[in-house]
Amino acid sequence: MSALHADRRLSAWLLAPGFGWLLIFLVVPCVLVLVYSFVERGAYGGIDWLFTWENYQRAFDPLYMGILLKSAKIAGLATLFAVLIGYPAAYAIARAPRRHQAVFLFLVMLPFWSNYLIRTYAWIVLLNREGLINRLLQMFGYSGDPINMLYTEASVVLGLVYNYIPFVILAIFSSLSRINNELWDASRDLGASGWMTFRRIILPLSVPGVAAGAVFVFVLSIGNFITADLLGGKQVQMVGNLIYAQFLTARDWPFGAALSFFLIAIMLILLFVQALVARRAEGGRA
């Protein structure tokens, strides 16, 4: 390969355009946001270039902390349910004959690739006061008030689980399918029951996949805007909605920037933890 490899210059030419684009339109904007979080908001919504800790101090205010914690709670619940529901599904697919697995996985991923707004809107249609579920209930004789299912924390959690569960299933399946079949046999041969084998061999070995899926769901859920906005409305405010408000209505960009960095910090910490889990579990693969 030396005719093409050794040419450093060629490599540099190839990398430059893409690298340059990402540098200008990704790195610089992010650095800018970091900078903004340390400056003051101008009188009319612009920027006053004065250094301040104020934005971060405000973020620690009980009101905003409360929102951050609530976001964490909602994201946490979504993660929990996604994993609880997703794990058995992934397990079921892993048990299927190999040639069917691709189809099963494809069917799981298909909704994931359709429009996010539309998927969320579909739940409005179902959960609305004049929505499908209420209609069906009426058809079956229910005569009370239409049930309020939308604009609650529960509906937001539901929307998040719905949107992200395909990825969790995929991640867990990935882990499960890598487990060597013979481990199962060896465990049974040594006298363990099916449940024991699952609990002590299969489950621990699938942890990296669970961790990857969980981190993915949590990070995306806590930073999500659309689901909270459409399914939660004014009643459910998450960090995403808060940031949206700072940039569009309150015009307090520095504060919005500070809030964004909380999101990024959480994301980086979780990614780090997940990488640790994955590395620790590497040894168990036979």
Partner: protein, 268 residues
């Protein structure tokens, strides 16, 4: 994990089917409603295409769709060119190169950063440079994460690549450029196309970044923005027809991308 080895057979399978039901019922409901003459879940009025027809006459939606198409095509084109070059630049390096990790992290970033953060970052950037907002700013923004996806797809393809065909081409007398043009590009083209389709789909569906970076005015509204406005401020039954069509486009593009991305089979 074969059948005879695991536990809870029927229960697990039932659970799987319930999960599928959970995933698909909402979508199917939308599709059904789009054909419902009454357009609302109130009652079933018989099959009708009237919402599709009315959709075709809705100028706001049509212009938004056109904008989305322009944005997606432009962003995809930029992403395919830059992303492929990037992938080649990374994979063609001799092993053990120093800059490896930096580039890898940089490429992962657009895919995992919360999209609202990316959206405001770009807004701040454009604002600072006093660049007016419009379709062009959306295109630039979309290209950012599209490059990362195209690069990832092409890199996966390059990992299974038999580099000796490049040497064979040179050995047979071709120049480096001819080798690039006649041997390398055709060989990775399916991967580039798959990445392009993927990025096209992502652009078509993308809402938040477009929303923040489009400025005001109908001239730069994309379809997801239009859908959002309709959901938030004025639900009409046309939206179900629109939803069905958009899903159809995304799914078709995804299917095509999957087809192209199958690893090359070798005959033995």
């Amino acid at each position: 994990m074969s059948q005879s080895r695991s536990l809870g057979g029927t229960a697990l399978n039932t659970h799987l089917w319930l999960v599928y039901a959970f995933l698909y019922v909402p979508i199917l409901v939308l599709i059904l409603l789009s054909f419902n003459k009454f357009g609302l879940p109130t009652a079933w009025g018989g099959v009708s295409l009237k919402w599709y027809v009315s959709l075709a006459h809705n100028s706001a939606i049509l212009s938004a769709a056109l904008n989305t198409l322009i944005v997606a095509l432009a962003a995809t084109f930029i992403a395919c060119v830059l992303g492929t070059l990037l992938a080649l630049g990374i994979e063609l390096r001799r092993k053990g190169s120093d800059k490896g990790h930096v580039v890898d992290t940089l490429l992962m970033a657009p895919m995992i950063i919360p999209d609202i953060v990316l959206a405001i970052a770009l807004l701040s950037f454009f604002n600072l440079l006093k660049v007016g907002l419009g379709l062009h700013s959306i295109i630039i923004s979309h290209a950012v994460f599209n490059i990362a996806f195209v690069c990832a797809v092409v890199r996966t393809r390059l990992k299974h690549f038999d580099y000796s065909i490049l040497e064979a081409s040179i050995d047979l007398g071709a120049s480096a450029f001819t080798t690039f043009r006649r041997v390398l590009l055709p060989a990775i083209f399916p991967g580039v196309l798959a990445g392009g389709l993927l990025s096209f789909t992502l652009s078509v569906d993308e809402f938040i970044i477009a929303f923040f970076n489009s400025g005001s005015g109908q001239a730069s509204t994309t379809l997801p923005m239009q859908i959002y406005a309709m959901i938030r401020f004025g639900v009409t039954p046309e939206i179900n027809a629109l939803a069905t069509l958009v899903m159809l486009v995304s799914i078709t593009a995804l299917l095509a991308s999957q087809r192209l991305n199958k690893a090359p089979r070798t005959h033995e």
